[in-house]
Amino acid sequence: MRMTSVRPLRPDPPQEPPALHLRAMDNLAFIRDTMEAAGSFTAVSGWGMVAIGVLAIIVAVAAGLQPTESAALNIWLATAVLSPAIMLWAMARKASAARMPLLSGPGRKFVLSFSPPMVVGALLTLVLYRAGLFEAIPGVWLILYGTAVVTGGAFSVKIVPVMGMCFMAAGAIALFSPPSWHAWILGAAFGGLHIAFGIAIARRHGG
């Protein structure tokens, strides 16, 4: 004989409402998610970019005074190590001021998309440096940095990929221009573009 299913006489006791701090955390997560979805907050620090731009202009002047292109490139290489540290510090400050984790959804996507072209740029620099093809390095740097900014900027505010395209254009010019122009192009791009776009980002997108 088939038996019907048995229902418990007493229903389960009502569940405790979630603790206040859990709801507070949920509210904070909601605020963060909404800000991210609104798409205008960018963890990229405008003021950090301005700082990098000023540094790049100083470096461009110093590199221009060097007797050889390899000596000038060494100065730029040192700057390439210092600049990400400045930007990371500025981004951490900006995220902290906005009470958002640095590597929140869009921030994480930005880093994941930004990194591959930068890694390729580092490897190509090594290859070109060892081959003595110094004159190709500025153009490669600018194009790949621009590519990284465009791909990373796809998850950020519109102005970020636009800046990336400007760097790519500067890189294309550098690749087909005489080596004597390279110091100026590097200074104008890494200095001028960072400062101009940095001010625009700082004003419009929270610092």
């Binding site: 206040l20 701090h21 507070a24 955390m25 509210n27 909601f30 800000m35 609104a38 205008s40």
Partner: protein, 126 residues
């Protein structure tokens, strides 16, 4: 709307809490919760405007996944409290409504964030 309903439930259950250390901790942490932006839809509007110069009605509607009527009601409440400001204009023949966060609105969001953080700390430090 599901999100809206969840927020209302959240608000009601919040009021239903009686007694116990959690309530004492909450009282200690923050005595004056801003009910106006505690509601999910309004909290969403204020949060979205906090990271944009301004947003159009249709941007906000898309972002919050809500209806015209629901958004209008909540936006009006925020306007009445002077948390947001509304500008109406025409783009060609199409009417366009832009919202932006006012200084009191930004301060209210900051107070709310402080409030939530205080609640978390108060209950964690117990």
């Amino acid at each position: 709307m599901a999100k809206h309903g969840a927020a209302r439930d959240d608000s009601r259950s919040h009021e239903r809490l009686r007694g116990g250390t959690v309530r004492r901790a909450a009282k200690h942490a923050a005595p004056d919760l801003d009910r106006l932006i505690h509601e999910r839809m309004r909290l969403g509007i204020v949060s979205a405007l906090a990271v944009n110069d301004s947003l159009s009605f249709s941007d906000l509607k898309k972002l919050m996944g809500t209806t015209d009527g629901n958004l209008s009601v909540h936006a009006r409440k925020l306007e009445e409290a002077e948390y947001i400001a509304c500008t109406k204009s025409f783009e060609g023949r199409m009417p366009k409504t832009q919202y932006r966060l006012t200084a009191p609105g930004r301060r209210a969001l900051e107070r709310y964030l402080d409030h939530m953080e205080a609640l978390i700390h108060a209950t964690r430090d117990r």
